[in-house]
């Protein structure tokens, strides 16, 4: 290959990374930089104190912190107003800095205006509650469940708020919180004991059963088998 000086595969290991002429690295996050994002000015004008602060992160990404009490109102406006139309809720997640608050982060994109916006809500760690946005974007359904599962944030008005990645009866807490140790709260022995004690017949959740009642296993004789739920 003409553009590769190596003659054998092992040469590359010996050579290691080759130096570059390009060297661009500098401060990319400017807390004070005024954002020229068209949504920010409109948000500040319209909601005033509801917009806590805003800044540009990672060069060109606009982040807006909003008051969690007004979050649903602000997000509804961002989705429905003709000048905004953020119709795509790409991601809902949480960030725990290990302090007294947990942030809920919304990544939005407008397919009409081709604009992205990040909205963050800072929730006090002792009152992790915020309005659900499932009514606005259905995509938030599982994403909010995941934040509930891993961070313990309660989403008011979510139709089916239960754990999603961890088991329904998981008792050790919310794994992505900073006070949660990497190996879990319980000892390995306790984890094993709980796993063995689990009722394997407890297989269906209440949501599964919402249509048909208790499932029954029918035996060859036509009668329901005992002990099966």
């Amino acid at each position: 290959m003409a553009n590769n000086p190596s003659s054998s595969a092992l040469d590359a290991v010996e050579l290691g990374p080759l130096p570059s002429e390009i060297r661009v690295r500098g401060a990319v996050t400017s807390a004070a930089a005024p954002s020229d994002h068209p949504s920010v000015a409109a948000l500040v004008t319209r909601f005033g104190a509801g917009i806590v602060r805003h800044r540009v992160s990672a060069g060109d990404q606009t982040v807006v912190w909003v008051d969690p009490k007004q979050s649903l109102e602000i997000l509804t406006w961002l989705k429905n107003d003709a000048s905004q139309l953020y119709d795509m809720m790409s991601d809902v997640t949480g960030v725990d800095y290990g302090g007294a608050s947990v942030d809920v982060v919304y990544q939005m994109f407008s397919t009409t205006h081709k604009r992205a916006l990040r909205v963050r809500c800072e929730l006090p760690a002792n009152a992790l509650e915020i309005d659900s946005v499932v009514g606005l974007w259905k995509s938030a359904d599982w994403l909010e469940r995941e934040v509930f599962d891993l961070f313990g944030v309660k989403f008011r008005g979510h139709p089916d708020l239960r754990r999603i990645l961890m088991p329904d009866d998981y008792a050790e807490g919310n794994p992505l919180r900073k006070d949660f140790p990497l190996r879990g709260r319980f000892s390995r022995a306790e984890q094993t004991r709980r796993a063995l004690e689990q009722d394997v017949e407890r297989f269906y959740t209440a949501t599964d059963l919402k249509h048909g009642g208790t499932p029954q296993q029918v035996t060859a004789g036509g009668k329901p088998a005992e002990g099966v739920d």
Binding site: M1, A2, N3, N4, S6, S7, S8, A9, V13, G16, P17, L18, P19, S20, E21, I22, V24, R25, A27, V28, S57, A58, G59, Q61, V63, M88, S90, D91, T93, G94, V95, D96, Y97, V105, Q107, F109, T111, K114, R118, W137, K138, S139, A140, D141, W142, L143, L150, I164, L165, M166, P175, L176, L182, F203, T207, D208, K210, H211, G212, P215
Partner: protein, 426 residues
């Protein structure tokens, strides 16, 4: 697109006519007359160990006869807490975690992660590195779509495309192996560059693949696109409207099949994708058949992008020349004090990040793959590393898509979403 013509008429059902008319599924799940005898709904459980769920996915279905009334997916069987684990690792140590999420297109994950970290840190990679990553990502788009093609064709009873697809995948495996030393767990990228430059002969290998692959793709196209059985199983199955698809968060081929021309490469371009000449296939019906057509066309477009990328691949270095980011060469380490110190600092401490957060989305093979990294001033580990998993959000629509269809259609709908459980459960 979406020309709905039957070419291969293999059925004997007179309702499945040839002649280019739209063909409906012969087993219409709607308008079933109420039976006279007493019936009750049945709850059945599919998975988590079931080949048709394409991983450890469990679907609890409520059935009326064979008609699906509701589906509740249960996930988390493969949960490994990668995101938590990432908070205990330096920036470069996270790279091996990323390819274990989507083992069907690992290089896209490797690239997406380091791209997000580089954006957060303000690192501009070299031109060669950019093009090599584009090569990696487009190659793995084909890689991921081929697996989807093979396994989905099996789900509707076509075995041959599986063999064809996996023969081609094997060639990409070989290219993976030559580039990274591993077939699946590639871990090929590093912050500021790649683990290694392209090995000798790699571009020739890729070119050879690009020459041969479209032929196979056309053969599969011929086997499936006009095939009456395939059409009967996919057309009108799992359809979703454009507005619903956006609202439900569908991305990637699933969204484009519904008629929304949203492609991250076009709408939020990265790595000069706006300068490549390629088209984004868009469907109109939003059903399984259009998803199939979109993916088939995407593979052809990826071939186009790959050819252009090969043509513009420049020489020069692949890693940035910053001792705080890239490891020095082994020779320098052993002979030069400075380099050894840099090496030591990079290995023991890691790369220091500025305070901030960065969300970077790339067009993965499954949809919009977002990497969100949050750092504190000078931190060598992320405060939070979040993956926006496309399959996770795509799978959450399955109940909406499958309601009212037959159980066998549920299998097709699940397959057509192209999920990978490693990424859903993380």
């Amino acid at each position: 697109m979406a020309t709905r013509n039957v070419e291969l008429s293999v059925g004997r059902n007179p309702e499945m006519g040839v002649g280019g008319l739209p063909t409906a599924s012969p087993l219409a799940p709607f308008d079933i007359p109420e039976p006279a005898f007493d019936t009750e709904e049945m709850l059945i459980n599919i998975g988590p160990q079931h080949p048709a769920t394409h991983g450890v996915l469990r679907l609890v279905c409520e059935l009326d006869g064979e008609t699906v009334l509701s589906v509740t997916p249960h996930i988390g069987y493969l949960h490994s807490s990668f995101e938590k684990l990432g908070e205990y690792r330096t920036w470069n140590q996270i790279v091996p975690l990323t390819d274990r999420m989507d083992y069907l297109a690992p290089l896209i994950y490797n690239c997406a992660y380091v791209m997000s970290v580089e954006k957060l840190m303000g690192i501009q990679v070299t031109e060669r590195c950019k093009i090599v990553r584009v090569l990696c990502m487009e190659m793995d788009r084909i890689f991921g779509h081929l697996l989807w093609l093979g396994t989905t064709a099996i789900d509707v009873g076509a075995f041959t495309p599986f063999l064809y697809a996996f023969q081609q995948r094997e060639k990409i495996y070989k290219l993976h192996e030559a580039l990274t030393g591993a077939r699946i767990t590639t871990s090929a990228t590093r912050v500021g560059g790649m683990m290694a430059d392209l090995p000798p002969g790699w571009i020739e290998g890729l070119t050879k693949f690009l020459d041969e692959f479209p032929k196979t793709l056309n053969e599969v196209d011929r086997l499936l696109t006009g095939n009456q059985i395939h059409i009967g199983r996919t057309q009108g199955v799992g359809a979703i409207s454009a507005a619903d698809a956006i609202n439900c968060g569908l991305t990637g081929p699933n969204l484009r099949a519904a008629g929304v021309p949203y492609d991250v490469r076009k709408d939020r371009p990265y790595y000069d994708y706006e300068t490549y000449d390629f088209e984004v296939p868009v469907g109109e019906h939003g059903d399984c058949y259009d998803r199939y057509l979109c993916r088939m066309e995407e593979m052809r477009q990826s071939v186009r992008i790959l050819r252009q990328a090969i043509a513009r691949l420049p020489g020069g270095p692949i890693n940035v020349d910053d001792p705080n980011i890239s490891l020095p060469s082994k020779t320098d380490c052993m002979s030069d004090m400075e380099s050894m110190i840099h090496h030591f600092k990079l290995i023991t401490e890691g790369i220091k990040a500025p305070e901030g957060d960065c969300y970077l989305a790339v067009e993965g093979s499954k949809g919009e793959l977002g990497m969100y990294v949050v750092a504190e001033e000078g931190s060598t580990k992320p405060v939070r590393w979040r993956v926006r998993p496309p399959s996770f959000v795509n799978l959450s629509t399955i109940e909406k898509l499958a309601k009212g269809h037959l159980v066998s259609d549920l299998i097709m709908i699940n397959a057509s979403l192209d999920i990978v459980l490693g990424e859903i459960d993380r």
